[in-house]
Symmetry: C2
Subunit: 195 residues, 2 copies
């Protein structure tokens, strides 16, 4: 594991996605690994941390998650803009070499049988909380976060460091039609207002 | 209604929250109106458009939504940073004059019996899709979007205009402890990549 990657305490894991970034979902089962992009992921609880992610019935990653009951939600960076767009467009069903064609490299974290995408800023290892009605009716999946990590060059001491980190580390926020925004300027509310 | 506010076609309503902004939730019942801030709101479907929002059992707005089955999700701006922080901190339970103390002004949209917050950049009128298990177990509420509007000074022709609009219109992305980021620079992926 890259020496810049550090564990994030579970009670602060929600902060990794609280600002609404576009994320990458990865999973593996029986030797098949896949990665997709998704905008519709959201924190659901603080402790134990949970999150929701919407996975269309057409995507291979959904099948891998239904089979393995585990997945990773990770936060891609501006440096990974093309990679993010490609894994969101190509399907493993039509291109068995999708990950290579998208420039995706995976790494392992000890004790986790999950594929982590190299170069992201943060990773949340999740265990599926089976909710068949939500999954079937809404394509809505709930995960409990069992481990969290971040690259200390952009997330340190429980806080994002976008204002001082290299701009290539900024998170991506997708709209539609290949159009994204990067996260921007930091704004702080004084303590007496935010009681 | 302000002349800058225009209806957004329902099939493009998801774009109003696709970039993961912090939002305001408003609702009313029996003459009681309330507004709260939330980070945990997310698109759920394109057509008909649906969304999810997490509402803690302690908040008055949840009670109003359970009673009226309707609510508004709206996107506050950098100009509304203090307002957003205040409605996220004060409770109507402890301060019956919360809205006045937070500087919130409400307006109406014809045909909608809902309270809309003045000065936001976008509004999504929602009807609750009752899912008692999700609501009780996860504080997770699902809404179908029945109407959408945006201020044309920052959202026009189906697209956010953050790159050209006054910076005061940028969306807010909350982390924790009074710390927010504004949305930033636009990034586009070339068409042949984003097939």
């Amino acid at each position: 594991m890259d020496s810049h990657i550090a564990a994030v305490p579970l009670d602060k894991a929600y902060r990794l996605i609280n600002h609404g970034p576009t994320i990458l979902v990865s999973a593996q089962h029986n030797g098949v690994q896949n990665v997709m992009a998704a905008s519709w992921a959201c924190a659901l609880d603080f402790s134990p941390p949970k999150l929701t992610v919407v996975l269309d019935k057409s995507v291979k990653t959904r099948e891998l998650i239904e089979q393995s009951a585990r997945f990773v939600i990770q936060v891609p960076t501006v440096a990974q803009l093309e990679l993010t767009s490609r894994v969101g467009s190509l399907s493993l069903y039509s291109d068995p070499d999708k990950l290579a064609h998208c420039g995706v490299n995976l790494f392992e974290i000890e004790g986790q049988s999950l594929p982590f995408v190299t170069g992201c800023s943060a990773w949340l290892a999740c265990t599926l909380i089976p909710e068949p009605h939500n999954q079937t009716t809404y394509d809505l999946f709930i995960g409990e976060v069992t481990g969290a990590w971040a690259d200390t060059r952009v997330f340190k001491d429980g806080h994002w460091q976008f204002e001082t980190a290299d701009p290539a580390w900024r998170s991506l926020h997708y709209i539609a039609g290949g159009h994204y925004y990067a996260i921007g300027e930091a704004l702080d509310v004084s303590e007496n207002t935010h009681s």
